[in-house]
Structure formats: structure tokens, C-alpha cells
């Protein structure tokens, strides 16, 4: 036990093992006022991340022409050279989570042995799902299964030019479908959620049980000791801010593309940069209102609305789509996922370079760049859960929901294509495939409209929870820093998304997500070790 208990200060709630450090949350902070607004920011994390991002936005906009190509090269180089590294790391995260679920460490409770959960299952689950997957499910729900299916079915499957997973299944519609669904679920199932779960668990453990501030650096106390309060910690936190901001901006870019495509599809709104910028501005405005309203009144409420709308759309497609095929498909896809899992997650000796590097490595880097944000957000709302309950809920349940979502949206689209020869789902560009699928079903005007609203609300819930997280990191772990700081970060997320969209489009966004994901992968591997060390010292 630490010295603090000896001074008569109670432990979190029931026994836990606090870390004894002289550091006080916010001791390196600068409190100042800028005009009428008060600020409470960590020095130098806020200054370095804030200034770098302002400079980044400026240069990307100033050199729009050359920026695009440079970003694309960067992305291809990273995913091409380090694909094995991303794949191996993600496998380690999954294995560690599964181990913790079955090990005695699963009994440790976040927040102390007697802590009780802050949120009900519904509110908790809605928030972690809305933050964790968000827009991606809308963007890729139809487009990814269809892409994998078509590339696997195509005649050139298995050649170096092909994008098919595992060499595909040229000419075999049944196997191409299995492979397409398995590959999609692979990207949305256990692996991404294991990445989030690791970060969330690490943060929650070191904050609620060990009493350290809620920032990424705290996780590394068992490794670096008191040095985490110096530059080692500053760098970790700054990287976390970059990863969050660029990871989020990527999603916001996808959201803007898709909302624009949807609005064009429904109302004829032109697809161009002006529309996208206006969309980002308007939606960032809503996100601003949400962060100002706070965690309970803004973020949680929007997440719940989101869940309801998503469920509504899901049930609709389920009922009017091929219902029986979807239900049987769910179990079938789950089986195919498990069957292909060892091959898909194998980092070495594979020939499907395009798929492995272009899809899987990109996805893992993207999830990892999202992980400080989603992880910290999940950590913040998960106090009172046991490690086992936490991991089962964060890892398994969202994975199963993702399987179901992909089965309903992707499965319906593949059925439309295979059974009815409905070509539109293949011919449409990525961002329109969802709307193309809905067009093949009844009431498409209404469902497309709901889909656009969903994209927008997902956009808002990602942006507002992201701003909360960046604000906490740049305020040295304080969650009661003045509200204008949140407004600054929420606005800058929008600006970064705009800058990257104009200076190189989605390729630029993806490149930055991957570039920040790479160093963060190394950080996460270290975090795995810290978690084990931290859990080991907790009373069970």
C-alpha cells in the first residue's frame, strides 16, 4: 500500500493499490486568461500540440497541390513497409484481452473493490459504441463487404493486382461471399475492439485504481517511473493528441464525403469542396453545442439518440431485406470469421499484398490512431466495472454487434447483387454504396434520409467526445478545465478535417491517421506490459 493510506486518506472505494507519487494533477498547468476566457492548460503539451496543429493546417492549405501526393506516398510506404508490425501488434492486443478475461486478473474492479458503476448498461454501451465505430460503420457497412466480394469473385483474384483477401475465390460466388464477409468482420470485430479495450483498461486502471491523472502518460508509470512527469510523458501525451486529432479528422472526412454524397443522391446538393466544407462547419457547430452541454447532457444523450436511429435503420433493413437469409447469415458469417481468422490475422508469408497492406494495415493503424480517444472516453465512463465485465463488454459485445451490422447491410447488398443482379451496389463509388443498397429496398427516400442523419449524428458524437479527450490530455488530466478549451479543440478538429480534405482529399486524411498510428502502436505495446504489472499489484 502507498503512504497515502497511512495518512488516513481513504482508498478509492475499498482496497486498491495506489501509486505513491509526489506529482499533483495539474501542477504543471498554467492558469491564465485570454481576453475574457480563462484557460487551464498543461505546459508544454497544450502549446506544442496546439501550435503544431495550427502550423499543419496552415501549410497543408498553403501547399495544396504538392501535399496530396506527399501524403499518399507516406501512407503507402508506412502500410507497405510495416504491415507485419501492425498485424502482429493487433494480434497481441487480442490475445492479451482474451487472457485477461479468463485469468484471475479479471476479478479486479476498476475504481476499487467496492466501486459501483457510474452508468447503466444502456448509456454506457451507447457511448462506447457511438465513440468507437461511428461513421465507419455507415461508410463501410455496405461498401466493404461488396468490395471484398467483388474482388474475390473477379477473374484476376489471386494475382498481384487483385485486392482480394487471401487470394480470393475467382468465379465461386459462395466462397467469395464467405471470404468477403469474413474479411469485413475481421476488420470490425475483435481486433479493433481489443485495441480500444487495451487503452481504455490501461487508462482506467492507472487513473481510478492507482490515483494518477487521466492522461496517456500515467499508463507508463510502471515502466518509466517519475520520468513520466517530464519530457518522456510530454511526448507520449503529445503523440496521443496528434493521433486523436488525425484519427478523428479521417472519420470526419469520411463523414463529410458520405453526407455530401447522400445529400446529392436525395436532394441534388452538388458534390464539391464547398459543400463538404459547409457540412463540416455546420456539423462541427452542432458538436460545439454538445461539448458545451457536457458529458451527460450532450454526449450521452446524442449517443443514445444515435443508437436508437441506428437500431431503427438496422431493423428496417432486416425486415424489408432478405430476413431469413440475414439471420442464418449471421451465424454463418460468424463461423466463416472464426474459420478465416487465423489466415487473415497472419502477418507473414502472404501473397495478398494489396489487401493486407491497403485494407488491414490501414485499418489497424486507423483504429490505433483512434485508440487514445476512444480508450480514454471508455475509461472515463467505465468506473465500477470489473476487468472481466469490462473486457467482455468492450471486446465481445461490440464485435458481435459489428458482425450483425455487417451481415445486415453487407449481406443484403451481396444478396441484391447475386440474386437479383442489382449492379448499382457495385458500380457506385464507395461513399454512395450504402444509398445504392437502400435504393434497392422500399421507402428509400425515408431510409436514405435517416442514413444521412445517422452519419451526421455519428460525426457529432465522435467530434464532441474527441474534444473532451484532447482537452483532458492537454489540461494535464484535469477534466474540469474551462469550457472554451473544448471549443478550441472541437473547432480545430473541424479545421484539420477541412485542411486535409482540401489539401489532398481522403488520401491525406488516411495518411495522417496512419502516420500517427505507427508511433502509437509502439506505445500501446509498452502499455500491455504496464497493464499486466499494474493488475498484478491490485488486490483481487
Amino acid at each position: 500500500m502507498s503512504d497515502t493510506s497511512g495518512q488516513g486518506i481513504p482508498d478509492p472505494e475499498g482496497p486498491s493499490n495506489m501509486i505513491d507519487t509526489e506529482y499533483e494533477v495539474g501542477q504543471d498547468n498554467i492558469s491564465m486568461s485570454m481576453g475574457p476566457f480563462g484557460l487551464d492548460i498543461h505546459n508544454p503539451v497544450f502549446a506544442i500540440s496546439g501550435l503544431s496543429i495550427v502550423a499543419f493546417v496552415f501549410f497543408t492549405l498553403a501547399f495544396q497541390d504538392s501535399a496530396g501526393a506527399a501524403f499518399n506516398d507516406l501512407r503507402n510506404w508506412l502500410t507497405g513497409t510495416f504491415d507485419w508490425f501492425f498485424l502482429t501488434a493487433a494480434n497481441i492486443f487480442v490475445l492479451l484481452c482474451l487472457f485477461l478475461i479468463v485469468s484471475p486478473y479479471g476479478k479486479v474492479r476498476i475504481g476499487g473493490k467496492d466501486a459501483t458503476p457510474d452508468y447503466s448498461y444502456t448509456g454506457w454501451f451507447a457511448m462506447l459504441f457511438a465513440a468507437g465505430m461511428g461513421i465507419g460503420l455507415m461508410f463501410y457497412g455496405v461498401s466493404e463487404p461488396i468490395s471484398h466480394f467483388s474482388s474475390s469473385f473477379a477473374d484476376n483474384a489471386g494475382t498481384p493486382e487483385s485486392w482480394a483477401p487471401l487470394g480470393g475465390a475467382a468465379g465461386d460466388a459462395v466462397e467469395a461471399r464467405n471470404l468477403g464477409m469474413a474479411a469485413t468482420i475481421f476488420h470490425w470485430g475483435l481486433h479493433p475492439w481489443a485495441i480500444y479495450a487495451i487503452v481504455a483498461l490501461a487508462l482506467a486502471l492507472f487513473s481510478y485504481n492507482k490515483g494518477l491523472p487521466l492522461t496517456m502518460r500515467s499508463v507508463f508509470y510502471p515502466i518509466f517511473g517519475e520520468r513520466i512527469w517530464g519530457w518522456t510523458g510530454h511526448i507520449i501525451d503529445i503523440l496521443a493528441v496528434f493521433a486523436t486529432l488525425f484519427g478523428l479528422a479521417t472519420s470526419l472526412g469520411f463523414g463529410a464525403e458520405q453526407a455530401n454524397a447522400g445529400l446529392n443522391h436525395l436532394f441534388g446538393v452538388p458534390i464539391n469542396d464547398v459543400s463538404k466544407v459547409l457540412l463540416i462547419v455546420a456539423i462541427t457547430g452542432v458538436a460545439l453545442m454538445s461539448v458545451v452541454a457536457g458529458l451527460d447532457a450532450g454526449v450521452k444523450r446524442l449517443s443514445e439518440i444515435n443508437m436508437m436511429l441506428a437500431a431503427l435503420l438496422l431493423v428496417f433493413v432486416l425486415i424489408v431485406g432478405p430476413t431469413v437469409a440475414i439471420f442464418t447469415g449471421f451465424f454463418h458469417n460468424l463461423y466463416e470469421y472464426v474459420r478465416y481468422l487465423p489466415e487473415l490475422s497472419n502477418p507473414f508469408g502472404r501473397d495478398d499484398d494489396n489487401f493486407r497492406q491497403g485494407w488491414t494495415a490501414f485499418y489497424w493503424a486507423w483504429w490505433i490512431s483512434w485508440s487514445p480517444f476512444v480508450g480514454m472516453f471508455i475509461a472515463r465512463v467505465s468506473r465500477g466495472r470489473s476487468v472481466r465485465e469490462f473486457l467482455v463488454c468492450v471486446l465481445l459485445i461490440p464485435s458481435i454487434v459489428s458482425v450483425f451490422w455487417m451481415t445486415v447491410f453487407g449481406g443484403t447488398a451481396i444478396t441484391q447483387l447475386v440474386n437479383d443482379g442489382y449492379q448499382l451496389v457495385v458500380d457506385s463509388p464507395l461513399e454512395l454504396k450504402l444509398f445504392a443498397m437502400l435504393e434497392g429496398l422500399p421507402l428509400q427516400q425515408i431510409t436514405s434520409f435517416i442514413a444521412i442523419v445517422l452519419v451526421i449524428v455519428f460525426f457529432v458524437t465522435s467530434s464532441d467526445s474527441g474534444s473532451l479527450v484532447i482537452d483532458t490530455i492537454t489540461a494535464g488530466g484535469k477534466i474540469d478545465a474551462p469550457v472554451p478549451q473544448r471549443i478550441f479543440w472541437a473547432s480545430f478538429e473541424g479545421l484539420v478535417a477541412i485542411a486535409l480534405l482540401l489539401g489532398g482529399g481522403l488520401g491525406a486524411l488516411q495518411a495522417m491517421a496512419v502516420s500517427t498510428g505507427f508511433p502509437f502502436t509502439i506505445i500501446l505495446l509498452l502499455a500491455c506490459f504496464a497493464i499486466l504489472k499494474g493488475l498484478h499489484s491490485e488486490p483481487r
Binding site: I9, P10, P12, V25, Q27, G35, D118, R383, I479
Partner: protein, 138 residues
Amino acid sequence: MYTKIMVPVDLAHADKLSLALDTAAKLSKLYNAPVTYVGVTASTPGPLGHNPAEYDQKLAGFVAEQAKTHGIEADGKTVVSHDPAVDLDDALIKTARETQCDLIVMATHIPNVADHFWPSNGGRLATHTHASVFLVRG
């Protein structure tokens, strides 16, 4: 005239509260009304404690000191909020109702442009509770 006084306190800036605390103590003596000091904290570690229990202990120490210095009847109440930067007013409104206080004494800042965007804490308390609100310029 008053039967119960509530005093919201920000323990991080206790040094800036002296005028409000003195005012509350004098009113407490004048009307023989007990004072409840209310502190709002988050469940995450902060400068005032690693957890709400630790914060609560600090508040209890603060309350004991106030009671002793001013010779008044006082107790403390820690409110745990998920997002104290934003939910402060709501937490105070709820506590004012729970404690059934009829007077709130609190320190206030010098009004500035930001007040046009964010309503002041005191203003919101006056709008949403039945208690009288005494704002003390610090």
C-alpha cells in the same frame, strides 16, 4: 429569516473565497442558521484528491476549520459529477433542493464579455432554486 445557508466552495481557490466565507458565517450567526458547504468534484483524480473519498476528507477538514474559526454550526457535502466543468450549476441546483436551504452565499467573479455566452453560476441558481442568492464580489 433564514433557516439554512448553502455555500458552494471551490477548494482549489479557497484563498479567494474569504469575503464570501466571512459573509456567510456572519449571516449564519445573525439568523442562527446552519451552513452547508458544498464542493463539486469528478470521480477522476484531480488536484484535490485521487478520488471523491479523498476530496470529501479535504472538504470535511475545511468545514471543521470554518466551524471552529467562526463558531457556527456547519456541515459539508461532496457532489460527484461526471463533467464538473459543465454540470456545476446543475449539481448545485440539485443540492440546494436536497438541503432545502433558503439562502445561498457565493463568491462571484468580475463580469466580462464571456458572461454573454455563459450564464453566471449565481444567476442560474437564482433562476432555478427557491433560495435567495447573495453574490459576494471577491
